[in-house]
């Protein structure tokens, strides 16, 4: 197992390297002189030259990349020109709402999707099954920011049950925080729930047709025991994969959903940075996000071993 973990870590290095190269070259894709673009049309040539020096744009490309990379290993993602603070600090200040939104949405989606998926598999071919899958299909076609706008329209504007937009940090009290998070989390969680419900259903159907399930039923075990103890544990592995794979889309959705509800998260940070031409922030943010995604996928891969001992044995 240790050798396997090590192997997976090593295989991540070239991918991380390419991620870094892509992020680094983004800023060099800017047509013209990045320093002039960043400062805008009113800047004097002296100011532009000063910024070029600061950004290291006068150095050869390979040494620019080298210094940038060394900086990253030291936890230095550069400074935000507009906010006048390190990118990492700006990121940390904005990650709270995004993380809270993503986790709440994930929780909501799991709570809704797994029972529905299991139930649909159990009642395969019935009206309930078709209805659930139809709703799931619809849910998958509904972009989270659009669902967010519609929920805001109904529950925030017309019914006025919940605040339509805004944010209160967790420090202001759990209920205060949740009040502002429920609508965005539902908007984000629904599309996720649709994907997970479909996966749960097909994964359960696969397992339920296996012989050991028939044997368990023949033994006279209760259906509940067969389904939750015997079938679900095995059906959970593909579901776990989907949870990992869809984390990326969850973050994607979170970034846009945040801007719908004016949550001061990563999405707002990135969008504001575009307007301010604060490229260091954009670079740093997507670098952190991509790295997180890769590490998370690794963790989920390793979790297979915990959920399913057979995987652990095969890998030795």
């Amino acid at each position: 197992m240790k050798a396997y973990i090590l192997k997976r870590f090593i295989s991540m290095i070239p991918v991380l390297m390419i991620v870094a190269i892509i992020v680094f070259f983004l800023i060099h894709l800017i047509p013209g002189d990045p320093a002039a673009v960043i400062l805008g049309p009113e800047a004097t040539p002296e100011e532009v030259e000063k910024l070029r020096e600061e950004l290291g744009l006068n150095l050869p490309l390979y040494s620019q990349f080298f210094y940038w990379l060394i900086g990253i290993f030291q936890g230095d993602l550069g400074d935000s020109i507009y906010m006048n603070k390190p990118v990492l600090q700006a990121f940390v200040e904005h990650i709270g709402p995004t993380l809270s939104l993503a986790l709440l949405a994930q929780a909501i989606s799991i709570i809704i999707a797994i029972p529905i998926g299991v139930l649909a598999a159990k009642k395969q071919g019935t009206f309930a099954d078709h209805l659930f899958m139809l709703i799931a299909m619809f849910g998958m076609s509904l972009p989270s920011f659009l669902l967010g706008l519609l929920l805001m329209l109904v529950f925030g504007v017309h019914l006025q049950w919940l605040p339509a937009a805004g944010y209160q940090p967790l420090g202001a009290g759990i209920w205060e925080h949740l009040k502002y998070m429920i609508l965005p989390a539902f908007a984000l969680g629904m599309i996720q729930a649709a994907v997970i419900a479909r996966m749960t259903r097909s994964s359960m159907l696969d397992i339920l047709s296996m012989n050991y399930i028939k044997a368990a039923k023949a033994k006279g075990l209760k259906e509940r025991v067969v389904i939750y103890k015997h079938a679900f544990r095995n059906a959970f592995i593909p579901i776990l994969t989907i949870l990992g794979e869809t984390f990326g889309s969850l973050i994607t959705g979170a970034v846009v959903t945040e801007t719908v509800f004016n949550l001061p998260g990563i999405g707002q940070l990135v969008v504001n940075s575009i307007v301010r031409r604060d490229y260091a922030v954009i670079q740093g943010t997507i670098l952190i996000m991509a790295t997180t995604y890769l590490v998370l996928n690794l963790v989920i891969d390793l979790l297979y071993g915990v959920v399913d001992p057979r995987v652990r044995l095969n890998r030795k």
């Binding site: 983004l26 972009p143 706008l149 339509a164 889309s249 973050i251 575009i274 954009i282 997507i286």
Partner: protein, 309 residues
């Protein structure tokens, strides 16, 4: 797979007779396929939704009495009426006309992205499958690209390139190429190991011939299915980018930037959110249903694996 006559047979059998049989078989096969195509419920429903949207995008702007950019401050934020079918926006522009023109933009971006990802993904996937050096390079790049959250990478590319419709297409295409490349690669890898490819190699066929005449037909079906879904995702991404204010630039309408305008007046004017939203849902739903149907028709194996009935 259609039968190819061996060299010896061609000499013995009347070739004209053979081609006529072959043509007839081909014709029958084609009509059978069309029949199967039309008997698939998902394809018909999804296809009809798409057809309605395409007609709307073409005919909508023609029947509208207003242009999408015509400002009329006196009549701003009017609800739907006989005069303005979908109401007016915060500049008094006719919403029906804007949504219809937006349909052209959104469907155009989606179609372009679908086409470009298909062509580039096909090249990358095929050559990655056949040359192991390219495989290592291409697949690591794909892994890296797929590590970025879609929207953040697209937003970063847009920030660098500037808000223009062409750049939206470029950004979304870059984000989605790896998905197609991987699908093509995996089907090409399967084909590569088949005995008939080995036979072709022994006969001295060039790798160009093997790749384009014998691998592509086998890799095409799963790719087409995937590209249908990418069409849908491209529409969502374009709408998201425009909603964030980095996509299609104002004042030109797209479903996303109408929603962006609509958000500022959501307390008073529901129609600015509901109408463009409805069309996004229709387009994505239509494409997803159509894609599911295509998958059943073209790629029954993956269907069984994904959605056991």
């Amino acid at each position: 797979m259609e039968m190819k006559p061996s060299i010896q047979m061609e000499q013995k059998i009347n070739y004209d007779h053979f081609t006529s049989i072959r043509n007839q078989l081909k014709k029958e096969q084609r009509s059978l396929f069309i029949k199967r195509f039309l008997s698939n419920r998902s394809v018909v429903i999804g296809g009809s939704i798409l057809l309605v949207l395409i007609v709307f995008a073409i005919v909508g702007p023609m029947v509208s009495k207003y242009t999408p950019l015509e400002i009329d401050p006196v009549n701003r934020l009017q609800g739907p009426s006989a005069e303005h079918w979908f109401g007016t926006d915060n500049f008094g522009r006719d919403l029906f006309s804007r949504v219809a023109h937006g349909a052209q933009v959104s469907l155009g971006v989606g179609l372009s992205v679908a086409f470009l990802t298909a062509v580039i993904g096909l090249f990358v996937g095929l050559y990655a499958a056949y040359y192991s050096i390219l495989d290592h390079i291409f697949m690591r790049i794909c892994d890296a690209l797929m590590a970025f959250p879609d929207i953040l990478l697209a937003v970063a590319i847009m920030a660098v390139l500037g808000p223009r419709p062409v750049n939206v297409i470029i950004a979304v295409t870059i984000v989605k190429i790896p998905v197609v490349a991987r699908i093509v690669r995996s089907s090409a890898l399967v084909v590569k190991e088949q005995t008939y490819i080995e036979a072709m190699k022994t006969l001295g066929a060039s790798s160009w011939r093997i790749i384009w005449f014998h691998t592509v037909p086998n890799a095409l079906s799963p790719m087409i299915v995937q590209v249908t879904y990418i069409f849908a995702i491209a529409i969502i991404l374009e709408a998201s980018l425009s909603f964030l204010g980095v996509g299609i630039p104002a004042p030109n309408p797209s479903w996303g930037n109408i929603l962006y305008d609509g958000k500022t007046v959501i307390y008073s004017s529901w129609w600015m959110t509901v109408f463009p939203g409805l069309f996004i849902i229709l387009a994505v739903l239509g494409l997803n249903i159509f894609g599911d149907g295509l998958r059943d028709l073209l790629d029954p194996k993956s269907h069984k694996a994904i959605n056991k009935q």
